[in-house]
């Protein structure tokens, strides 16, 4: 029994690892190809199957006039917008989540769960249609094509995630901890930041990671709500996708765009390994 399970376990893990890695490997070799080595039949190994070149990568830093996309500035824009929006979402979302987890609210038929669902439900609406009102809204307050405007919209995108994860998290943190802090002379705010917050770091890490991911990979709002001043990475990369699909530079950009998030993955894993995620408190 045990042996079979171990065998199946490693078999499954191997299969999944191959599945996860395969497209990345494919992207990696493709990123060194050119038109002919993509379109002249399937090739795999550089120097053996095809003559590798760095054009796919060079495109990413060349200026458009030279046929590149120059992702350097959008890269930092994306980092800035994602991190700021995530931070604001986490702060506001955590506060709201704390309130929803600890206190009871009642306004007519609306109770805590309904408020939580209201937060989460903001993610149900298809972005296509919401983009138009957002456009008008940001236009009215003169925030179109600005980093700040994008951050405002991303907060709507990300705060629901933060609220969802943090409500769940706080529900697992015994409320007696907060009560003890109050009894020990903290007012509710002090209790929150001196006691609850330090014990919520794992939850904050997970929520933060989801916020960063969902902010980083958004394409649609960044696409509709910016013109020339501000460009975000996904929009810039997708702009590569012209009638002659440059599979090599799209591959290179896919690898480049996932890179900063791998750092995030390592941070999250570190907290996972410590085993104190999700409110293991008692």
């Amino acid at each position: 029994m045990g042996k079979l399970y171990t065998f199946l376990k490693y078999f499954f893990i191997t299969v999944w690892t191959v599945f996860v890695v395969a497209p990345f490997l494919w992207a990696l070799t493709t990123s060194f190809k050119d038109f002919n080595s993509v379109n002249g039949g399937v090739t795999y190994i550089p120097w053996v199957d095809f003559e590798p070149n760095l054009e796919g990568w060079r495109v990413l830093i060349k200026s458009p006039a030279q046929g590149g996309v120059d992702i350097v500035e959008p890269y930092f824009n994306s980092l800035f917008v994602t991190c700021t929006a995530s931070l604001v979402s986490i702060i506001l979302g955590t506060l709201s989540a704390y309130a929803l987890s600890r206190y009871t609210f009642k306004a007519g038929p609306i109770k805590n769960n309904d408020i939580t669902f209201f937060f989460i439900s903001q993610r149900i609406m298809p972005p296509i249609v919401l983009s138009i009102p957002f456009f008008l809204f940001l236009g009215a307050v003169n925030l179109l094509d600005s980093l700040f405007g994008l951050i405002v919209v991303y907060i709507v995108l990300l705060m629901p995630i933060a609220v969802w994860i943090m409500v769940d998290f706080f529900n697992k943190v015994p409320r007696e901890i907060d009560e003890t802090a109050l009894i020990d002379g903290c007012n509710p705010y002090q209790a929150f930041y001196k006691v609850v917050l330090p014990n919520s770091i794992p939850g904050l890490i997970v929520a933060g990671m989801f916020c960063i991911i969902f902010g980083w990979i958004d394409f649609f709002f960044a696409f509709i709500l910016t013109f020339t001043e501000v460009q975000l990475l996904p929009v810039k990369i997708v702009a590569l996708n012209s009638s002659i699909t440059p599979w090599w530079s799209l591959s290179a950009s896919a690898l480049v765009s996932v890179a900063p998030l791998i750092v995030v993955a390592f941070i999250v894993e570190r907290y996972l390994s410590k085993g104190n995620l999700s409110g293991a408190i008692k």
């Binding site: 015994p174 007696e176 901890i177 009560e179 003890t180 802090a181 109050l182 009894i183 020990d184 002379g185 903290c186 007012n187 002090q190 209790a191 006691v195 330090p198 014990n199 408190i281 008692k282």
Partner: protein, 359 residues
Amino acid sequence: MNLVGENLSYKLTEELQLRKISFNFEKGKLYTILGRTLSGKTTLLKTIAGLLMPDSGSIRFEDKNFLEIPVWKRNIAMVYQQFINYPHLNVFENIAFPLKQRGLDPQKINDEVFKSLKLVGLEGYEKRKIQELSGGQQQRVSVARSLVKNAKILLLDEPLVNLDYKLREQLREEFKNIFVNGLSEESIVIFSTTDPREAMELNGEVIVLDEGRVLQVGAAKEIFENPKDLKVAAISNDPPMNILKADLGSNKIKFEDIEIDIPDHLSKLKDKHFNFGIRASDIELNDNGFEFEVELAEISGSETLLHLTRGNLKIITSIEEVMDFKIRDKVKINFKSNRAYAFDEVGNLASSPFRGSNV
């Protein structure tokens, strides 16, 4: 100057947790709130602490309206049945937390923390993380944290219930010393428990609580000797007192097919039908006694609990030694009727061995 509560009521959703509770706690005394799980003990303590706001009623302390003072300004301390500490702080920091919150100077904090560490017997553990301690040690830390504040009101919500038997015995003894002897004359200690023995041992003023009501208030001994009614009798005894429907005959008390002699203190009972109450410990094995069948035998600590049946009769007896019984064994028992209680048909105490008939 006392802590006085009047007509406190609290409602959670539709259910009443506290029903018009009043109390008057004096400084320098230990109070025990005895009640079963969900009887409202924790609610009452939290209300006193200020964590819950009663729907009606008032609490006054030192001539101030206590309800207007927020928790964090009430100068109270509380120990929970879960071992609540701050997981992100080590032992020292945990105990020092309330003092830092008060803004005391570091030297003073240091002294106080070590004093209370000593009191709970955790010297040398100050650098440990909370997660590295055993349950009992964790609870000692939270007790130390509550002591260090020198609070005017100390609330202990079943602090021992989550510990294993041995540890509980040991800590109970220690706590008694700490609370009874280690506290200043200025403090009020309120200890809640489900365990009547604990209440008796602590030997303070006992408040018996049931379904959000105060059933009886009195010294531990008084509650034990003269439980006001059947409910109190049930709550204040573990195992619960055996209650048997009995008839008073001429010189005999009859229940089912058993007849026993009337002891003196029951002889003046007015009613013919009454509830005969006898503690498990007041039933002894006796070869000349009545034959019962063992339904269940459990060993608890150094005693053996026997659940016995005879016809429709069901009783529990506890024997002060470990004995091996099998199910359906026959045993013979005798009732120490001079220690029996009588409750009238409504359930109020009619006569106790300590007070005689209360008419």
